[in-house]
Assembly symmetry: C2
Homo-oligomer: 396 residues x 2
């Protein structure tokens, strides 16, 4: 028997994960994956899937939707929705205000839909007027899309007005909840969402690999009444909802282990309480922003619409955007995110989601920045960032 | 803080997994998933991906292919290949000899390809003559497809002749290696495969959730020279190979934890040695077959082409196909598989792959069957199955 020396392989270093995800994972969630394997059609596993569905209904604030965990990452949830709902030449109006909205656009275009892209300024919420003006010009708009928590710009997009406009024109409303679920309210029923998808590695504090999704009966009916089959079989929401629904019809082998991890992370969320969790996210983000501002760094997302889960800010002067992040990683063990799209090379992004949204990580990062900035000639008052953040944390 | 009582939740029972997958998972692989989380663009994680690529080259017996783990189950690997290689109206000739070949057919049809299905008898290998006769009738065949290890029929499909015929007509050759990788040879280079995909939960003895794939330069060039973009963005092999290749260009968040599990399972395979592993699969399958035959049960896959990893056999007389499997699960803790497609309600299937291919599990199952059969009036000689199997196991 050939022995492969362990030293040949890369070890997994401890990191403080404050990028756009994956986030830190609670030990309970990691432990859930060490359970013995079980078959994906085993009646006991089916019970577990039903528990996951029920727990997802809580975080999505829905009673009526079908909830499920798609066997892919957040982008799989995005593609499942667009590919299943849209037929070639269907009209879709896309409210685009960042990088992941553009990904929705790319996917809808590939499906062969008649895509109407509406673009607004990065770092600000998408203005509903823009949708209102455009949607009137088209007959039979099938779908309106947007992203609730734009990871690229740090903006929390208000959804109520967009949803109303879509409903007034008999269009379905699809929302990217990748960065929002478990970190800010996603009011599926009361907002009137028809399809939302998320990812496990952000607000849910789970490893990446699944896309927890919710779909309304209206959207399911639209899928069942298609003239043509979706071009994707793997991400066909009609087939997948039959596996997650009461029939539990075999579609593909479910990623059992990831579903066990997701169940554990959802249990933790329900135990903490949704509102407590949102409050925690808001508090830690406020502390981070105060610290960054004390260092003279500017948060680029518009005040009043800032996400707590991701904070984009201007890169400190004289620091190379790649090199600076490397130092944070190698010297301080902290991962933060780079800018994407229009914000590439202009901003860094700090993610404080799920298990990574903790006071100690905010302070770790600010302490690292207090050491890093002076090396590159950025004058700061030592301790100023830490004390600004601490004041906010201790006031609450 | 709301407490969710643990008793409300389904526990995970210990099972002996002898179905079509998932299989038992070695403790080392489970433990690999408890490592701290790491970012998917972290340079240390990139090193791990490169190790996974290198280990996959060993199990796929390839030096030239690009190897990667797609972020979905085996069916995602199937769809990635068909969706990325085939453009609408491209001619694809499909060698269909079972349920998963039919799934390839369904997916290729959805892509809008010009699909030529060739169907042969279930439970026998696909005859190359059928391909030879048909392929001559078509110009510009872009792709020939088949399944190497048909999980539904238990057949190991010889690939050499099919590959030669495809090459003689300048067609690419795509192979489903879902049930073969890690359990029987998959000679990517010497057979001349252009795209092969697998799954983690079978011969690789890992939890389900990834599709380890290999793609030739010819196939990658065909993808890069497409006139239209693939309808799937998530499963676009051009984009995914850029993330797994030297550029490591961001595509989507990689399922980090599953990739750590896969690395560990591949290390175990290399330590065991591929030939030792294949021999082990063959030995345990021989013992199982001898035991089943001693019970008067018929293995329905054609002798000479039988897979070691999955054995379909006739359901014992007077036993309901659903009820009998339920008793095996509930009373004996053993999962076996049902029949699919043409074999539904006619056969049961026993999977002995990876960690599940062990003498003790063969004996566990035969002992259970020796208890079960007489209850339904099947006369057997007590101990006959166990001794038939033991003789084979101890001879080796």
């Amino acid at each position: 028997m050939q022995q492969v020396p362990e030293t040949k392989f890369q070890t997994i270093p401890p990191r403080i994960l404050l990028g756009p995800g994956p986030m830190m994972v609670p030990p309970r969630v990691l432990q859930a994956m060490v359970n013995p394997m079980i078959g994906y059609l085993d009646p006991d596993f089916i019970s577990i899937m039903e528990e996951v569905s029920d727990l997802l209904k809580i975080v999505y604030s829905t009673k009526s939707a079908t909830t499920m965990a798609l066997s892919g990452t957040g982008s799989a949830g995005m593609e499942a929705g667009l590919n299943s709902i849209l037929e070639p030449n269907d009209v879709v109006v896309m409210c685009i205000h960042g990088f992941f909205c553009e990904r929705q656009f790319e996917m809808a275009t590939r499906v062969g839909a008649n895509v109407i892209p509406l673009r607004s300024d990065w770092g600000k919420p998408f203005p509903p007027d823009l949708l209102e003006k455009e949607i009137k010009k088209h007959k039979n708009v099938k779908l309106v899309t947007t992203v609730q928590a734009e990871t690229s710009t740090g903006i929390l997009q208000p959804l109520e007005d967009l949803s109303k406009i879509a409903k007034n024109h008999d269009a379905l409303f699809m929302v990217d909840a990748v960065t929002s679920l478990g970190a800010n309210p996603v009011e599926f029923d009361s907002v009137g969402i028809d399809y939302a998808y998320s990812a496990t590695q952000k607000g849910l504090a789970c490893p990446p690999g699944l896309s927890p999704a919710a779909i309304s009966n209206n959207a399911l009916n639209a899928i069942k009444n298609r003239q043509t089959k979706p071009s994707s079989w793997y991400l066909d929401l009609g087939l997948i909802s039959d596996y997650w629904g009461d029939a539990h019809t075999y579609h593909h082998t479910a990623p059992v282990t990831m579903i066990l991890a997701l169940r554990e992370s959802l249990k933790i969320i329900v135990e903490e309480g949704l509102q407590n969790r949102f409050d925690r996210h808001n508090l830690n983000a406020s502390a981070l922003r105060a610290g960054l501002e004390a260092l003279g760094l500017t948060v680029v997302s518009q005040n009043g619409y800032r996400l707590s889960q991701i904070t984009p800010f201007t890169i400190p002067k004289n620091i190379d955007c790649v090199e600076g992040r490397k130092i944070l990683l190698r010297e301080f063990g902290i991962e933060i995110g780079r800018g994407l799209g229009e914000f590439a090379e202009k901003v860094w992004r700090v993610g404080l989601m799920g298990e990574s949204s903790k006071p100690e990580y905010v302070l770790n990062l600010l302490a690292a920045l207090e050491k890093l900035l002076p090396r590159y000639g950025n004058e700061i008052e030592p301790g100023s960032a830490l004390s600004a953040a601490s004041r906010i944390l201790s006031d609450n």
